[in-house]
């Protein structure tokens, strides 16, 4: 599934946090890697505290150095510097992904989400909204030290939405290639933690809502068991559980308790204010979890 990885960089050590993950995955999947440097027009001279590489020759040299040092033997890596300055980095990444046809983009988040990210969407979110390639998001450490990426335990939250099931195949591939265990969870809200679309029902018919949620919990159990059976047939080590509570909180807490190395989430690709208004789970998990996140864009059916 992941045969070609695209890793956008901007010359900063922060962005380089994405490289260990890309290297690990490329090795497991025998994939090739393209390192991409995109130069932003009017970029601040120091991006994330490092000197911003504005000359194509500088960038080229930088990428070549990374290619030779950061990747294990046997991983085929190529470098590409986009020589013309661009205004919109996200759009450029997406355009390059159209050109190189990667199966996965590995990207670093910019750490804590600020108001600007909220309003305009971080580059990662924008790339996700514009393109249809899965994105692996790495949260850098505060001191920007390199992070070892390992993939031994994967968390796969589902919500019963058949479209979100498209994330299952991505999780399965990851589990198979990396020899990881899979934890499937589904989080059914409680009357005290209702998402927006349940709000009126919870307020005016609290008893009925509570009962419906309890029924949903039972249904969820059957739903997950079904999926788990199919995964076990494929030889994957997988367990499942239905939890109650706020979905985003539950995902973050469970990842922490399980010491998950990766969370796989299907997402409908909204960025910035759209994600805000729809209370998108992926958005809330992205901004709060420090675990790597594999965001799988799902295609709306019908």
């Amino acid at each position: 599934m992941f045969h070609h990885l695209l890793v956008p960089l901007d010359g900063s050590r922060l962005a380089e946090s994405a490289i260990p993950a890309a290297a690990h995955i490329a090795e497991r999947f025998h994939a090739e890697v393209t390192l991409l440097h995109v130069i932003e027009r009017n970029a601040p001279a120091a991006v994330h505290g490092d000197r911003h590489l504005t000359e194509p020759a500088e960038a080229d040299e930088y990428l070549e150095r990374l290619k030779n040092t950061a990747f294990p033997e046997g991983v085929a890596a190529t470098c590409h510097v986009h020589e013309v300055e661009v205004d919109n980095v996200a759009r450029s990444i997406v355009a390059h992904s159209g050109e190189f046809q990667p199966d996965l983009i590995v990207l670093c988040t910019h750490g804590k989400e600020g108001v600007r990210e909220l309003l305009f969407g971080s580059i990662a979110q924008k790339v996700l909204a514009l393109g249809d390639v899965p994105i692996l998001l790495i949260h850098p450490r505060d001191d920007e030290s390199p992070i070892d990426f390992r993939c031994r335990r994967i968390l796969l939250p589902l919500d019963g939405d058949p479209e979100h099931e498209q994330s299952v195949s991505a999780a399965r591939e990851m589990a198979q290639a990396c020899g990881a265990e899979l934890d499937l969870i589904m989080i059914v809200p409680t009357v005290g933690s209702l998402p927006a679309e349940w709000a009126a029902s919870g307020r005016l018919l609290p008893g009925v809502t509570g009962e419906l949620l309890d029924i949903a919990q039972v249904n969820a159990d059957g739903y997950l068991r079904n999926i788990v059976e199919k995964l076990k047939d494929g030889g994957i080590s997988v367990e499942y559980e239905v939890l109650r509570g706020d979905p985003a909180d539950g995902i973050v807490e469970t990842a922490s308790q399980n010491r998950s190395d990766l969370i796989v989430l299907g997402t409908h690709r909204k960025a910035g204010m759209d994600a805000f208004w729809s209370g998108s789970i992926a958005h809330r998990v992205t901004s709060r979890a420090s675990v790597p996140l594999l965001l799988v864009p799902v295609k709306a059916r019908g």
Binding site: L204, V208, E211, L212
Partner: protein
């Protein structure tokens, strides 16, 4: 994997998972009393404030029977509406679209949009008066402030900030509780209260108008559509036993909520009667003076507590009103407009009303009369659908239920026509 569960996230799963039906006693209901009380607060909106206070101020206890009757009717109607949603997975508007000819569907949609506007007007006015009373700012700027507050709340709710709703519910709840307590503090003449609570009578066309307003304020046509949509599409339930169980929860929800709401409304009317009617000051049953009805319990705090609760009642109902509007539009004509636009459009008439200086209390009462005229358009289809087994399955009405609801529909239509008759004849 059991360490994934934290105590607080596990709820009453045991009841379901062990498959044993629990005893249907008080202990079963206890967890729901709290939320159901909060639900009752959603039914107390500025329309109720205005009609109760005017009713009590001008006619004393005479219109108590309207509150009692309207609350009982509302219970039955909401029960049937929610039942319809649970049984069919379609809401009332969608079923109308499925089964009625298109011109009729369009007509019904237009009527309900007018009703929705009247509702929004009432809530907006109530909140604006609340701001005006609380901060002393003139009515029009208060209206603008209301508009801003409404949008803020709409936005926060969508992002999942439940706390705003809880705060608002508590604010209204405080006043609601105050009125209920005051019923007993004020030591009304219980004989007279009991008599008027059950003996229907009128005294002039103004009393008919107020009765119609109380009815509209209590039964609320848009809420009828909303109730059928509340549980839609979340979880599909097919098994008869589960459907019956859901219905029992629904009974608890509706009866508790409407009983509490009914007590609050009765309290308001009784207090308005003892504050204004006895003194013979029948002309001052306005929202601006209404805080005096709370003075026996709250003393000098009455004025700002009343103002805050009026404000909260106006703001809290606005999200319910917006949702109802969306359900109605989506159901009847399969179109959606974003809630923002809907709010914007319905704010126009409200601001105009404030701008041209109409008296808010009076306008509120008239808006509730409009609601009453919209009721038959919701109730008649409700009767038609809930009496049919092919639509409702195991949750179809008992014969008695159908007879009762038909009676209700007839009474409402008769009352509306009677009001028109009195108005046209200038009685």
């Amino acid at each position: 994997m059991s360490q994934m569960n934290s105590g607080k996230t596990r709820e009453s799963a045991e009841a379901i998972l062990d498959g044993k039906p629990r005893k249907w006693g008080i202990s079963r209901l206890l967890p729901f009393l709290g939320p159901a009380f909060i639900a009752s607060v959603a039914y107390v909106d500025p329309g109720n404030f205005a009609t109760n206070i005017q009713g009590g101020a001008q006619f004393g206890y005479m219109l108590l029977w309207v509150i009692v009757a309207a609350n009982l009717m509302a219970m039955l109607i909401q029960l049937l509406s929610a039942k319809l949603g649970i049984a069919t997975g379609r809401n009332l508007a969608e079923l109308c679209r499925d089964r009625f000819p298109r011109p009729l569907v369009l007509f019904m949609w237009v009527v309900m949009e007018i009703v929705a506007m009247a509702t929004d007007l009432a809530e907006f006015l109530g909140a604006a008066v609340g701001f005006n009373l609380l901060f002393g700012i003139p009515l029009f700027p208060a209206g603008i402030l209301t508009a801003v507050a409404t949008f803020l709340i709409l936005g926060l709710e969508r992002f999942g900030f439940r706390s705003i709703e809880a705060v608002i519910s508590v604010l209204v709840g405080i006043v609601a509780a105050s009125y209920v307590i005051e019923i007993f503090l004020a030591r009304p003449e219980w004989g007279s209260v009991a008599y008027n609570a059950f003996v229907p009578r009128f005294s002039g066309s103004e009393s008919v108008l107020l009765a119609t307003g109380i009815l509209g304020a209590t039964v609320m046509p848009h809420a009828i559509f909303l109730h059928s949509a509340l549980t839609q599409g979340r979880i599909v339930v097919h098994e008869d036993s589960k459907l019956r169980r859901l219905f029992r929860f629904e009974l608890a929800d509706v009866i508790i909520a409407m009983t509490v709401a009914g007590l609050v409304n009765i309290g308001m009317l009784i207090m308005a009667a003892s504050t204004f009617f006895r003194e013979g000051m029948t002309g001052v049953g306005t929202l601006e003076e209404a805080h005096r009805t709370l003075e026996p319990l709250l003393g000098s705090a009455a004025s700002w507590v009343f103002a805050i609760s009026l404000l909260a009642a106006g703001l809290s109902s606005s999200s319910v009103g917006t949702m109802s509007g969306q359900v109605i539009m989506q159901g009847f004509i399969q179109k959606r407009i974003s809630p923002w636009i809907r709010r914007l459009v319905t704010m126009g008439p409200s601001l105009i009303v404030i701008g041209i200086g109409l008296d808010p209390t009076r306008t509120l009462v008239i808006s509730q009369v409009f609601l009453s005229f919209g009721l038959p358009f919701a109730i008649i289809p409700l009767v038609m659908f809930t009496r049919r087994r092919d639509i409702m399955g195991v949750l179809v009405n008992h014969r008695i239920t159908t007879i009762l609801i038909e009676l209700v529909a007839v009474l409402i239509v008769v009352l509306n026509f009677y009001l028109l008759y009195r108005i046209l004849l200038g009685g």
